[in-house]
């Protein structure tokens, strides 16, 4: 409906969990044209989450409504809505719920992994430090001096005789 129409506020419903009683306050700008405190109530849920209905006096009206919640302990607010109707129109308007904009708390829980180094399900394989034995056999030469297939040549220990005769000068005395 927006700000142009005055609303009459009858009650509020809070879905919350308080550790200690909390104070809930309702502010509107009418009739003084100034946003002022109109109603205060203490709300408490006990050990768990509960819906709490807050009935307002019959004269809480205004174009604006402002809500405030505080206390000495922790309060978790899951949702809130206002039961109101628009006034000042020729056609009477019906009462209806108006949700208060609150960040939603999901009903379900998410899951997050803990920072634990993962351990693998299977096992890795590592070789032991044992010198491997080959499947086949290697070949090694026995330490026996080899005997050549052919024959070698060796010179006999004689003085060599030249194949060609050598000229020798014979001294002959001249005739007298």
């Amino acid at each position: 409906m927006g700000v142009e129409y005055v609303k009459l506020y009858k009650k509020l419903e809070l879905d919350l969990h308080t550790d200690q009683p909390a104070t809930f306050e309702v502010y509107t700008e009418l009739p003084q044209w100034d946003v002022r405190l109109r109603y205060t109530v203490s709300v408490a849920t006990g050990p768990g989450r509960l819906p709490v209905a807050v009935k307002l006096p019959g004269n809480v009206r205004g174009r604006y409504i402002k809500l405030k919640l505080y206390g000495a302990g922790v309060t978790r607010l899951y949702s809130a809505r206002v039961w109101a109707k628009v006034t000042g129109l020729a056609e009477p308007q019906a009462w209806q719920w108006y949700p208060v904009p609150i960040e939603i708390t999901p009903e379900e829980y998410s899951s997050a992994a803990l920072p634990i180094q993962p351990t693998e399900e299977g096992y890795a394989e590592a070789a032991l430090p044992i010198e491997p034995t080959p499947e086949g056999f290697s070949e090694a030469t026995l330490p026996i001096e080899p005997t050549p297939e052919g024959f070698g040549t060796a010179a006999l220990p004689f003085a060599q005789t030249d194949a060609m005769p050598t000229w020798v000068e014979i001294p002959i005395d001249p005739p007298e």
């Binding site: 402002k66 978790r76 999901p106 803990l114």
Partner: protein, 107 residues
Amino acid sequence: MAENVKQFKDVTITFEAPSGGTFKVYTDMPGGVMTLGRVITLPTTTSRTEKTFPLDNPTLLEGKLIQFRCESGGIVRLLGGSIRFRKIGTYIDGTVGEVWQTQELSF
């Protein structure tokens, strides 16, 4: 108003603890100081075991931060783990004077 506060539902741990052990959980809310919230006893086990331990009894553990510590007189092999949580939309920590207040709303 504190933002990004989580409610912790339970923690699941996969472990081997031949001498048993203790698993401690710390959170920082309310108050903003890391405080011991739960002490979980790890049962003695000689084989790989997965167990889920509740964190919502008597009330949900809450915090922006969560910290774990595992102790034992013997060996504990932590093999894995996870935690279930949800973010609380509106968390008002009155112990540090927080107030929830809307703007002037016009429906």
